[in-house]
């Protein structure tokens, strides 16, 4: 794929830094490769800067401004200098795009850099539809899926119709909307371990909504939510697979689903 790269792209093809996010990096490289494929298919030159770690959201949402700055500085250093930064996560993309200016407010030498980076940072699916103007995908997937609207993507970045639009172009795929698809799954980063009982109640409600659709697969745009829902589905013995939406869009569903064993 990459060997052909120079010939496939126009000279003015946008250079995109793929920010994998810490969860995808460690738990599900398939999501990273699917994101890269979608970006390349859309005509972008993709790079994966090795200096990337975490966006700093855990510290920021826990009230640790200094810790958040410390981590976010590394992210700024790793990701600046590209036309765009794209992440397979509404949550991490929103941290950079919406919170970085606040995280670095008043920090000399960093506020401008962070704000510039914020303006170039996007969540993958909305980047494809809204920036690269992709309106259909050449992929096929046989089955009935349902889609969970992860909170940050939905409410901070306005990701709602974009994944549905692209999914509707996937051959063989049927989308069955669940009730309360916009209600939080109970992950919430550190929330799920700080308040395990409440989180359990919320994810219990969520998998009930998922199961009620009769879908064989739950899709979403954030790995944190997906690991939460997948972990609860398997604990409850529900035969629903969990995948990141880009896996389906990129036609990369050969790998076992999230939490699924190797045969």
């Amino acid at each position: 794929m990459s060997a052909e790269t120079p010939h496939r792209f126009k000279p003015d093809a946008p250079r995109v830094a793929l920010f994998a996010t810490c969860l995808v990096d460690m738990f599900r490289p398939t999501v990273g490769f699917a994101t890269a494929k979608l970006l390349e298919d859309a005509g972008c030159v993709v790079e994966v800067p090795r200096g990337q770690t975490c966006c700093g959201q855990p510290a920021w949402n826990s009230g640790d401004r200094k810790g958040a700055q410390e981590v976010a500085k590394k992210t700024v250093e790793a990701l600046e200098g590209f036309d765009y930064v794209v992440a397979p996560s509404g949550s991490c993309a929103a941290t950079i795009a919406k919170d970085y200016p606040a995280i670095f407010k008043g920090v000399a030498g960093w506020e401008d850099r962070a704000t510039a980076l914020a303006g170039r940072t996007h969540e993958i699916v909305s980047f494809l539809t809204d920036v690269m103007l992709v309106d259909a995908i050449a992929a096929s997937h046989d089955g009935k899926v349902t889609y969970h609207d992860s909170c940050s993507g939905l409410r901070s970045l306005g990701v709602k119709e974009q994944p549905r639009k692209l999914l509707s172009s996937v051959n063989g795929l049927e989308l069955a909307e669940m009730e309360d698809s916009e209600v939080c799954c109970g992950f919430g980063g550190t929330f799920c371990v700080k308040f395990p009982d409440i989180s359990n109640k919320m994810v219990g409600d969520k998998i009930a909504s998922i199961s009620a659709t009769g879908a064989d697969t739950i899709l979403a745009g954030d790995l944190g939510c997906l690991m939460n829902m997948s972990g609860k589905l398997s604990r409850e013995g529900k035969p629903v697979k969990a995948r990141h939406v880009v896996e389906v869009l990129a036609g990369m569903t050969d790998a076992p689903a999230i939490g699924e064993g190797r045969s």
Partner: protein, 476 residues
Amino acid sequence: MTAHAPTTREFKSNARDALANETLQHALVSTRAGFVGKRAKARAALPEFEDIRDAGRDLKNHTLANLDLYLEQYESKVTEAGGHVHWAETAEDAQKIVLDICRRVGAKTVNKGKSMISEEIGINDYLEESGVKAVETDLGEYIIQLRGETPSHIVAPAVHVTVPEVDELFRERHPQFDPDRRLDHAAMLAEARSVLREKYFQAEVGITGANILVAETGQSVIVTNEGNGDLSQSLPKVHIVLASIEKIAPTLEDATTILRLLGRSATGQAMTSYTTFSSGPRRADDPDGPEEYHVVLLDNGRTEMLGGEFQDMLRCIRCAACMNHCPVFQSVGGHAYGWVYPGPMGAVLTPSLIGVEEGGQLPNASTFCGRCEAVCPMRIPLPKLMRHWREREFEKHLSPKSVRGGLGLWAFFASRPRLYRLVSRIGAGALRALAGKKGRMASVPLASGWTSHRDLPAPEGGTFVDLWSKKTEANK
């Protein structure tokens, strides 16, 4: 301090109890859909709703920036009309002011319309201790008063009580009626009404809250659906309005902007059944009305919020849309929050009013899903304000040591990319080995918070950044 001591520190155990309480869970499920659906319908029917939200936010911001001016204007208008304005810096001040008025007129019974400020200052218990009986006349408030409880919701105080529970309660507490009577919704309302009707004529003093105080006219405004507030304030000789200082709106026009947002956000109503403007004591040619009209203006920590990062919270009009849409509130109900104000608005307001040491759990009990901010008619950035509280907590070293330690460790690695690569490679490998072929783990050392309720999906193997580098190297 208020009569009901906060149990905010016990939020986690309160929440566990609430989750295990089947009756409560049943009550929460049956009301949730109602509030959310009705608001959505009301919003959809008013195309300019989002513009009115902007107007509401702007008028509140303007009012807060000029609060002293409008409060003085309000006071002079009330005085002109023959009423009295009392300034209460603390809850205790407000309690004393109310009791003094009751004593002066020799009141034995006080009728109350629904008022969250009266809960904040714990006036019922305080009056009771001083020999004055306070009777709640709002149906929901009446029910919880009979049960010896506090409201679990700021608009629907008895939302945690099921119909069979009310049935049982009324049969026990209203022995004057036929024990074999049928009690459906309408019959319950009629029964409460007939009991309360008597009490309206016994009370010497009526206490109401205020949804809005209009500076240009000196009027106080209440919105109700039962009409009980009107009777509470017009039948007794003395009417006391309990209100906090941020309830001010400059003009009647501004009041209408707030009213257009309030009913729709709270119950999905364009207007509540009753919207009542009180303009002071009875005038010579009025057919009825109170002889005395008092307004107790409560500060109780609010001026401390002015000009600071929590000022936005003072725009709140107490519609409860935030808690109706909050998945945490909907999971545990209002009592778990442990003080007067539950849900997202309570998570921000409570630490402001009783201290972050006491109320710090509440702003942590949120996934920051943002649904509260999305529906707040005053566009209060509730998650952002909760995060501010977490920052204050972190600065004061109030956050748990385990959390601070974990975050410190994470920041250490995440700010050293080379070390991070090594550690994430080892971590992914170790978890994968632990899972074996199963692809998920039912228990993981040090991760019981996660695995007590759900499996942990195993890593696929290798980190993405490493795999990508390998692939691009190979293709060179």
